[in-house]
Structures are given as C-alpha cells and as structure tokens.
Amino acid sequence: MEARIIDRFRAVVGKRLITEVAQLRTYECDGLTNFRVLPQAVLLPETSAEVQAIVQICNQEKIPFVARGSGTGLSGGALPVDQGIVISLARMNHILEVDFGNARVVVEPGVINAEVTLRVAPEGFFYAPDPSSQSVCSIGGNVAENSGGAHCLKYGFTTTHVLGLEVVLPDGSLVHLGSTAVDRPGYDLPGVFVGSEGTLGIATKVVLRIVKKPEVIKTLLAAFNSTNEAGAAVSEIIAAGMLPAAIEMMDNLAIQAAEAAVHAGYPDCGGLLLVELDGPSAEVEELTKNVDAICTQCGAWEIRVAQSEAERAVIWKGRKAAFAAMGRISPNYIVQDGVIPRTALPKVLSEIERMSRAEGLRVANVFHAGDGNLHPLVLYDRAIAGQEERAFRLSIDILRLCIQCGGSITGEHGVGEEKKMMMSEMFAEPDLETMQLVRCAFDPGQLSNPGKVFPRLRLCAEKTGPYQPHPLEVAGVAQFF
C-alpha cells in the first residue's frame, strides 16, 4: 500500500495502526483458520467519526475494507481481502446507555456479548441471544452474522433484539437505521443490515432490546440410546404445543469430547437431550412433568433435572464447550452449520452416519434440535495426506443433504468465504441477483467485505432484465431519484 495512503490513515488513528507483518498475522484469519489473507493494514478506531474518516479514505482511494469484531466467526467473514485493510472495532467497546424502564441498551460494536448480560443482570434482565462464543464474540460480529444460540428457539435471534443501528455506509456517510422505538416508518433497514456479514457497511452503535429474566428456569437432561429416540422426543414435545427456551442434542461422540474437556457429568449414551423450560413457576412445573413423561415414553433411561443454578451452569458448560472440546478427540475438525426442517432429523442423521462410514471419517453431532440447526463436526487428521480434502468434501455434502431436505446451508455462522459457492445450490440465479440489488444500493463500489456471501461479484451498473437505461439517464440529464 502506498505510503501516502498509510499516512492518511495514520492521520486518523495515530498509533492505532498496524502495518508490521508479524503483527498483521494476528488478523489474517478468523475462527475458520484454513483461509488466510494478510491485510495491508489494520486500523483500530475509537469513535464513529474515526470509522467514518477511515471509510471515506477507502472510498476515495478504492481500498476494500473488512470490519472485524473478535474474529471468532466460523465462515471466514472477517477474513481480510487482498489489497485491503481491516477495521477492528475492538476498541469501541463501551456500553453507552442502559434504560431498564424501556428494556433498551445502546452499545458500541466492540462490546462483548456476555458483558451486556453481566451489566443488566443485577436489575433482573438478560440479553437473550447467547452464542456459545458469548464470552468473547462482539455485538458487532453478532449483528453482522445474525448470531443465534441455544435460547433463540424461544427468544429469537440477534435480529429480534436489534432495534436500531448507527452505520457508516461504504461511501463514508453516517446513517441511522431503525430507532429506539419499534416500527420506524420506511423500509426495515435494521432487518436487512442484521445478517449482512459486513457487506453493507460498519455498525458503530447498536440499540439492543434486553429481556426480563423468567421467574423460574428448569433444565432437564435426558439420556437415550440413540439420537433417533431423542429426536422423536423433540417432535413429541413440539407437537404437544410446548415452546421450551432451548432443546439441544448431542450424540455419543460429542458427549465424549465434552466430558473429556469439562467433566459435565453427562450420562454415557447414544443421544443426549438438554431441555430448558422457563416462565411462570406454575407453568414450568407442569411442563417439566410433561417433558419428563414424553422423554420416558420415547425411551429415555435416565432423566435428571438440575437442582441448583450451579448444576444448571455445569450442564450448559458442557454443551457450550462442545466445539472446542473436539480437540480432545481429534487433531482437526470442521464445524458445519446446516439447517433442516425438524421432521427430517431422523432421516438426515442416519444419512450423515452412512456418509461418515463411507468416507471413513468420524462425524460428531451437536445441535440446536428445537429449530433443526445441525452442527456436524467432521473429525480428521491434517497430517494424513488427503484427509483434509475428504473432510471438507464430506462437510459440503452434508450441507447438500440439508438443501435437499428443504433446509439451509447456514443457521447462524453465516456464508462468509466458506460457503459462498453453496449459495448457487440453495438459491436460483434470480434470487441471488435480487439480493445483490440490496448490495448495490448500500455499496455500489463493492468496498465493504467484497467477495463474501455471493458466489461472484456483480457490477452494480449492470442492468438486469429487458430494460436498458433511458438515453436521458445515460446522458446524465435525468436521474432516478
């Protein structure tokens, strides 16, 4: 990158600019470490105005930029782009306002997810979206990925909890999407921005909704011989008209790994179900009994209800540590994130088992069973020639299976770099073209995290369909709007 441009950046952020190769290495990948690109520079702004000034320079100099929160993303979303810079929001980490009366919190994007709950818990509130990475991931990253978590079954994903945003658009202008109140007139811009994976601009402030803690929480652990039996119990629970706060499932391999890592005391079984019910005490009591009965009926041979907050915490610790725990049972692994209609669960799980056997690679399953969000973990050893490619192929084939069953290639980790080629298998060309219209409206110059999400770049000047630009428009005499 030209020294002149570096100087311009330095004029904005001073010493909070990294250009040393050794230091840049920290930023060359996110949680998906098999993709790596060295950025030209990393900038650490502390204010919206600084972000704006940086993006304005990028716009003038046509330099692509990638926003980065904590770098825990699992789809390569924060992977730098060639010849581009990284804008880290890590230093914009203040909780700006807390309004308990209206259950609103205003935060900077670098605030860590768990810190929001920590801050509001004394008043009996929590921030509901709880990705397993919540102790490290940032709200900005959550917004970009529309992150989920175990409790999203009942409480909704990040998008449900984002009311408003301050955003620096890729042309360097500052714009406010949504508001502190609901239903701002006009297009639902927060709705489009959340989940856009850093491709529509940089969030510099976020208005979040917080939620009252329920009166009672009951966490129940049920051990089955197989994931099929556990899956049948999930269907029965839902069919009985219940909406638990969370329904999570782990197969035997996942249980072994979690046990090795955190000693959660899980029963050694073929399929473990973790059901959490919350709400008014009388209701939770009654529903816990119902869930217990359904699980027994479906073949559960051990059912435990957490007797204290400490017991509950241990149960969750095991579940939340499951990805990282794979390191205990395999040198390498790939985390996938497919979604299927819940009723397809038994079919998909047996098919994954068959594919795993055929490929000779183990697959562990940990998932949000209530909403059909699978996290197959494909275990392999990079040291064995050819295994990594096979593992990658298997993980992609699992996503294909999800698409065939009417599902999705990603439930919460995002498309990013990793799954962009799969977008053409899930969507038809006109679907993708239409999504790109949004991209062109926000970022006609394609500077904000370019090359992610979509299988190819689209030139925004390109007109689709049978229409040609009007001659007056071409001559610059008339403009649309």
Binding site: Y187, D188, A428, A441
Partner: protein, 431 residues
C-alpha cells in the same frame, strides 16, 4: 417532498399493453376499473387479477414496457394508507393467488399465497392446533400480502413480536418480471440477505409479494383476559409499566382511553391452565388500585372501532418508548382542550398504538398531527397517518420523517424498481 423525475419511454402503446395483459390473464380477469377502485383520487384504468406468479411476472413486464404504473391490491382494506399515488393505471389484485400451499405442521411452518384471506389461513392452521401468532386489523377481509405490505400487528405483539419475527421466507416478483425467493422453510436461516424483512412494510414499492412462509406457534390451551378501569392516567401508566417489568408473560397489554373516556387496561394470559391461574392471581395483587370490570365486548379488536364514525377524523399509528406513553396522553389531553380535539387511542404496551383524532376544522387537524408528530419524532418515535380527509393528505406527508435514511431508502427503491412503476409516491420520502 421532491417528486422524482421519471423518464417515461413507453415502447408499446397502452392499447397493445392491455391486449397483452388480456392474453396473459384471460379476458375475464382484466376489467375496467370502477370509481371505487380509485386510490386517493387517482383512478386506474384496469383491474387485473393474475392467477399465478408467472402471470404476475408477465403482467408486470408488460406494464413496465408500456410505462403503466401499478397499484398492487389485496382485499383493498387499507388502500387509503400511504400518500396519494403520483399515478396509477393498473390495479394488480392478488385476489386469485389464494392457496395455502403447505402447512408443515410437524415443522410448524406454513407457505401461503399472498391473496389468501388472513382468517381463512388461521382456520386452516387451527386444524392442527397452530396459528400465525399475529392479530392484524380486519382479519376476515384482509389478505396476507396486504397485512405484510403495511406491516400490521396487533396486541399479540406483546409476546410474539411483529411480522418481522414471524415471516421466514418470501417470493417477490420484481417489475422486470424476476421471480425471486429469499429466506426459506426453516425457522433458522442466515443464508443471504433477509429480503422477507425488507419486503415487510414496504407498501408494495419493491415488488409484488406472491408467497410468504411463516413460522407458526401452538394455539394456546387456555386464554384469560382481565380488564381494569381507572380515571387516573398516572395510575394506569404505572400499572402497565409494572406489568412490563414483572415476571408475568402476558400475550397482550393494552390501554384504551380517550378525551371523553377513562382509562381501561386489558391484560391477557395464554398457556396452560395452571400458568394462567397463577399469573392472574399475581396480576390481581398488583392491581390493587384498579377497578376490575367486565371486558366490554371483544376488546382485542378494539383497534378496529377507531374507524367508526365521522370520516372527517384521522386515524394515526404512533410509536414511542413504552415509558413515554403517559406524557403522550397528557399532551393529548392538553391539546384536546386547546384545539378542541376529540381523541381516542388503543395503545399496546410495547410502545405503539392507534390514535383517532377529530377536530372541528381540518386545518386544526393538520396542526394537531404536526405538533404530536414533532414531539414523538424528537424522542425516537413516529406518527404516521393511516386514514384522514383528503385535505389533510394534501398538506401533510402521511409518514413523517425517516431521519437521515431517505437517500439509502431511495437507492434501494431505484435498484428494485428503476422505472418507479410500483405504487409511485405512496411510500415514505417520495418513494
């Protein structure tokens, strides 16, 4: 409000276009418009009723080539919402797109066509004990597409959120005939941009919604409604805020009040019998200063009564921070004295509501709306007009301010509908 300069360059005569539309939908499904088809005084020429999304696409393509402006319509219950269109030659009715395509009850999702009657969809879903957890205005008449286009929601919002929390997939037909799907049939899905949310509340300005996929909720086993009355707005407001910050989980908390009525508060619990019982007990303890009364009729449809009576009134939607409801009502009270305004409101505790305003002269109605709007907007809220006399609409933008977002909204519109043929001028910021 600036009027965009729309280059018109019809390459096909209007007569040829109507012939083409006739051949697409069949002669019996394109009929000359009647006076009652006019939208805010703009009288279209034809009403077209396509039967499939392919037909919608073909009609739109034809319209675009002939520069016919298209006013999409469901059952027509809310055609007066929005600014007057700048023009409109063709009403595209979704009336014949009326099939429930799939109720995947095991997965708790449903795929429906946009012209489906909202209540009929609910009746179909109830066969398996499920529902779309939304209670829009006039469900017996309204279509799913229309409810989506205006982003309508009712009291159930207290627990289940609004349409943006319930819609998981959409099919849109763009003005160039592109049929685009986004989202899908699974409740959790982050593949690509969230166009279901973009289309929700876009008033038909980006494309014609032909299909929508919803996540469903179980129909509750039990439902309890309690109504309380008090003459004191401070007490009413404190009661509502206390419910909001308690551990209760109501599926409706509503305030009904007006210039000549006291405050009535409705609270609903749904779920198991035991859950409803114990929450009712807790609520009654909190309601010590209130008088419990029998609910006067179907109070969960009270919003609809705001349209009853004299057509010289305005009905508006307001949004605000929940804690500001009391000061808003106090301001209304002051205003009703100063400007002789009669008002009536039905407000949901989550921070939005409908307000009916009536003044002796339309001029003062305009002043009152403007004054209320500026108060609400200065605090992050909004006031948009749903229905009002034509004179008021000629003086006021019905939507109010979109802050600093209009340039971005206009560029989205320009990408989706570059020729500006869909509902031109009816939406916010001249869109």
């Amino acid at each position: 409000m600036s009027t965009p300069l729309s280059p018109r360059s019809a390459t096909v005569s209007i007569e040829t276009a109507w012939d083409e539309v006739r051949s697409i939908v069949g002669a019996e499904h394109i009929v000359p418009a009647k006076p009652q088809d006019a939208v805010d005084g703009i009288g279209p020429q034809m009403v077209v009723e396509p039967a499939s999304q392919q037909e919608v696409a073909a009609v739109l393509k034809t319209a675009a080539v002939a520069d016919l402006r298209v006013l999409p319509r469901g059952a027509g219950t809310k055609m007066e919402w929005g600014n007057p269109p700048r023009a409109g030659e063709l009403i595209l009715s979704t009336r014949r797109l009326n099939r429930v395509l799939e109720h995947a009850y095991g997965d708790m999702t449903a795929t429906v066509e946009a012209g489906c009657n909202f209540q009929q969809v609910q009746d179909t879903l109830s066969a398996h004990g499920q529902r779309i957890a939304l209670d829009p205005l006039w469900p017996d008449n309204a279509t799913v597409g229309g409810v989506l286009a205006v982003n309508e929601s009712g009291p159930l919002r207290a627990r289940f959120g609004s349409l943006r929390d319930l819609i998981i997939g959409i099919t849109l037909v763009l003005p160039d005939g592109t049929v685009a799907k986004s989202g899908g049939k699974v409740v959790k899905n982050v593949a690509g941009y969230d166009l279901p949310k973009l289309a929700t509340g876009s008033l038909g300005t980006l494309g014609i919604i032909t299909q929508a996929i919803f996540r469903l909720h179980p129909t509750p086993r039990e439902s309890r409604t309690l109504t309380f009355s008090t003459a004191n707005m401070t007490a009413a407001s404190q009661f509502i805020l206390a419910i909001q910050s308690s551990k209760l989980v109501p599926t409706g908390v509503q305030l009904r009040t007006g210039s000549s009525t006291s405050c009535e508060i409705d609270v609903r619990f749904e779920g198991t019998c035991a859950g409803c019982d114990c929450q009712t007990d807790q609520l009654l303890q909190m309601a010590s200063g209130m008088t419990r009364i029998d609910p006067p009729g179907d109070i969960w449809k009270a919003r609809e009564t705001l349209w009853n009576g004299n057509s010289s009134a305005a009905v508006c939607k307001f949004t605000l921070l929940p804690t500001e409801l009391q000061s808003f009502v106090e301001r209304l009270t002051v205003m009703s004295v100063q400007k002789q305004t009669a008002w009536q409101l039905v407000s949901q505790a989550v921070g939005l509501g409908l307000l009916r305003l009536e003044t002796p002269q339309p001029d003062s109605l305009t002043d009152v709306i403007q004054a209320l709007r500026s108060v609400l907007e200065s605090r992050g809220g909004s006031l948009s007009i749903l229905s009002c006399p034509a004179e008021v609409k000629s003086k006021l933008d019905v939507w109010g301010s979109a802050g600093d977002a209009p340039p971005l909204m206009r560029s989205i519109k320009a990408q989706f509908d570059p020729r500006g043929i869909l509902n031109p001028g009816r939406f916010i910021a001249g869109i």
